[in-house]
């Protein structure tokens, strides 16, 4: 890649993507309000937030589709330029492909727009069609493909030009578990190659599984950000998971303790310790009613932190 040497130089010290006090207003609606965030090279970054939090508006500015009203965006260590677009692979949440264009023609056009020459284009298209096993569909029109197949095609469009930065908005929506796994695999491969991936998703398990860093947006602002581990630690939440056997309704037996039930399953309970809660007393009480198989102090699930932070912010 043309810029790889330049990228390697700031690999150690600099962020791949950096937003400083970025705002974007549509009419009177402040979609993005004074957002700052950093994405390190070779890292998977999760951009989280409820619908309407300003994630897509933020992504559109990073991908150069729109310009920030105020603030500054730095990409690959330089102020954002149009040429950076060739180094970014973007998968929009609302998938977009030419319905009537055959698969290969589609890839050829969209790849050429990213600056790929004919030979590289052909090589890359063949590689990815093989990888997703849709080589035999290359001549079919896009609207003849199944939804899952179109999703794969959309992903190929995103990664075809071997970008330094992948921006994936809900990459798994519409995919079955097998293909979801393939996508996750490729994301990790790209990370291993030193590429950065920005992931916007509502699937917390995907974030937990993949992301190194996260930022949580709400109402146009970043309300939480940092390394996933740090975010969890900083949350200060003490969560306990208890696995048990027995038919007793454990939740009702424990409800006089200062705890908050986060998840309740037939033989499993996840709860948060509130101030003043005594784990020993709770365990003793539980043993009175059920056989406890497992009792562990766990990291708070991201979902808990997410819901908590959004509730506080609202």
């Amino acid at each position: 890649m043309r810029q790889s040497s330049a990228i390697n130089e700031y690999h150690i010290s600099m962020s791949l993507v950096s937003l400083r006090s970025v705002s974007k207003t549509y009419g009177s609606y402040k979609a993005v309000n004074d957002v700052s965030l950093e994405i390190s090279p070779g890292c998977i970054f999760g951009l989280l937030g409820p619908n309407g939090a300003g994630k897509t508006s933020t992504i559109r500015m990073i991908t150069g589709i729109t310009m920030p009203d105020t603030g500054e965006i730095t990409l690959f260590g330089e102020p954002q330029r149009a040429e950076h677009q060739n180094q970014i692979g973007y998968m929009p949440e609302e998938r977009g492909l030419y319905r009537k264009l055959p698969v290969r023609a589609q890839l050829e056009y969209l790849g050429a727009l990213k600056g790929l020459n004919k030979a590289t284009l052909k090589k890359n298209i063949d590689y990815w069609l093989d990888r997703f096993e849709i080589q035999s569909w290359a001549k079919k029109k896009t609207n003849e493909l199944s939804k899952g197949m179109q999703q794969k095609l959309q992903f190929i469009v995103t990664i075809l030009h071997d970008p330094q930065l992948l921006v994936l908005d809900e990459p798994l929506s519409g995919l079955d578990p097998i293909n979801s796994e393939i996508i996750n695999e490729i994301i990790l491969e790209e990370k291993a190659k030193g590429r950065s991936i920005m992931l916007s998703t509502h699937r917390m398990e995907q974030v937990e599984q993949l992301c190194d860093e996260i930022a949580l947006m709400n109402l146009g602002k970043v309300i939480l950000s940092g390394k996933l581990r740090d975010v969890k630690e900083r949350s200060g939440k003490k969560m306990i998971r208890i696995v048990f056997s027995g038919t007793d309704n454990l939740v009702s037996r424990l409800d006089h303790f200062p705890i908050r039930i986060a998840e309740s399953h037939p033989n499993e309970l996840l709860f948060e310790m509130q101030p003043g809660a005594d784990p020993k007393a709770i365990l003793r009480s539980a043993l009175d009613y059920v056989d406890v198989i497992k009792w562990e102090l766990v990291e708070p699930p991201l979902k808990e932190i997410f819901l908590d932070a959004v509730a506080k912010n609202n």
Binding site: P92, Y98, L110
Partner: protein, 432 residues
């Protein structure tokens, strides 16, 4: 931008609709000319029997004055036939006064009802002397004007000559006196004089309509393609690779080149037709092919097509970006379509009086120039500075339109979910 241009061009020229339109449309047009000719040719073989009962005994010879080419089966009183230049051949059975029997009319009537004859003309004996007496043609099909035309023109000539004779005037003298009375009209333009005969008017009208249709056609093509990209959301992907203004320009130029290709195919077909067929047709109109399609007016035509297309296509693209569904396209494109229709409405008066102040001003309004200035060029070549000025104004307008449409496009392509009012769209112009 070049990639977008290439893609749009390729997509357009590969589409079935484009190929069909390019090659079928001229065929349809040729067909529209050829079919009537063909039908009259078929009618040539069609023979019609007409009987004339000439009670004056003097007018018969006027119908038979032309050399008879075909023998007639029923020929009681010296008959003749005549072939009009087009249409069926008409055979005439002439009943001079001595051949008329009391039941002639009855038998002719029954022949007419049996469709053995196409009609019979009764010329009363007082026709020459008494102007109150008229001849009557009885037919079963009153719509067949070829028979009526043929008979009445000969009857008129005959009656006129006979009436002159009764007044002691030599008809050949009158005929001589009538000759050479037409005024011949010459269109004077710089350096040459040409016989026009209204061909300029027709030329102006045809090119006007052609420009109108093509600007409308390619404009809505662009608009459809913009809406399609927005509707399929592929535009978000495109604008993450290319600047929206480059997409817009690439699209307009790509479709424009395809349009230019189509128009040149049509033009060369037209040129071929005019080279082989038109001279013959125009000779009958009394004009020369050169006066319709001079190289200069052809170049102007192409230039006005290009400039008109650029202005309107860009407008349509901007309008397309404000809607999501193809079904909403009509609504937003209406004001633009109106701009194209207006000059068509003014065209007749501008072509008829091309030099009036109002015509000059109207033809200089950039959105009207392609149609109106082209019309003026055909009817009376305007001063060169006016033509040049119209191009300068159109060029400036194109860049103005591009600026506005570019802004609307850039914002519009990312706006989903509702219809936008004009006021909101105006706000988009201010977005950075």
């Amino acid at each position: 931008m070049l990639i977008v241009l290439k893609h749009e061009f390729k997509q357009k020229i590969r589409s079935k609709a484009f190929i069909i339109l390019t090659f079928i449309a001229p065929l349809i047009m040729a067909g529209m000319i050829a079919v009537p000719v063909l039908i009259t040719t078929i009618n040539m073989g069609n023979e019609k029997q007409i009987a004339i009962i000439d009670e004056t005994g003097k007018l018969g010879k006027y119908f038979t004055a032309d050399t008879s080419k075909r023998p007639i089966l029923q020929n009681p009183g010296g008959a003749a036939s005549k072939n009009p230049s087009f249409g069926p051949s008409i055979h005439i059975a002439m009943f001079a006064p001595e051949a008329i029997t009391p039941n002639t009319i009855d038998s002719l009537k029954s022949l007419l009802l049996q469709k053995k004859i196409a009609g019979y003309l009764l010329i009363p004996s007082g026709a020459i002397t008494d102007s109150g007496v008229t001849a009557t043609l009885r037919v079963t099909n009153a719509n067949d004007i070829t028979v009526e035309e043929f008979l009445s023109s000969h009857y008129k000539d005959g009656l006129f000559s006979e009436r002159l004779k009764t007044g002691g005037i030599d008809p050949s003298f009158v005929q001589h006196a009538r000759q050479g009375t037409e005024i011949s009209m010459l269109k004077v333009s710089e350096g040459k004089e040409t016989a026009d005969n209204g061909v300029g008017f027709i030329g102006g009208y045809i090119t006007g309509m052609f420009l109108y249709i093509s600007m409308l056609l390619y404009g809505s093509l662009i608009m459809q393609s913009v809406i399609e990209e927005k509707n399929s959301r592929v535009i978000e992907l495109l604008s993450s690779s290319v600047k929206p203004i480059d997409i817009l320009i690439g699209k307009v130029l790509g479709v424009g080149l395809a349009g230019l290709l189509q128009v040149s195919v049509w033009a060369s077909m037209f040129a071929a037709v005019s080279f082989f067929a038109l001279p013959a047709l125009l000779t009958t109109l009394g004009s020369s092919a050169g006066s319709i399609i001079s190289p200069t007016s052809f170049i102007y035509f192409v230039l006005y097509f290009v400039f008109g297309y650029l202005m309107y296509a860009t407008l349509y693209a901007g309008a397309g970006a404000t809607v999501e569904q193809a079904s909403d396209a009509q609504q937003v494109s209406m004001p633009i379509t109106f701009l194209i229709i207006l000059p068509i409405l003014m065209m007749t008066s501008v072509i008829q009086s091309p030099s009036t102040t109002s015509s000059v001003i109207l033809s200089l309004i950039p959105f009207f120039s392609p149609i109106l200035m082209m019309g003026r060029i055909f009817s009376e070549t305007p001063p060169f500075w006016q033509i040049a000025l119209s191009f300068v104004l159109m060029g400036a307008t194109f860049f103005g339109v591009l600026w506005v449409a570019g802004k609307i496009y850039r914002t519009g392509i990312l706006m989903y979910g509702k219809k936008y009012s004009l006021r909101e769209i105006f706000k988009w112009l201010k977005y950075s």
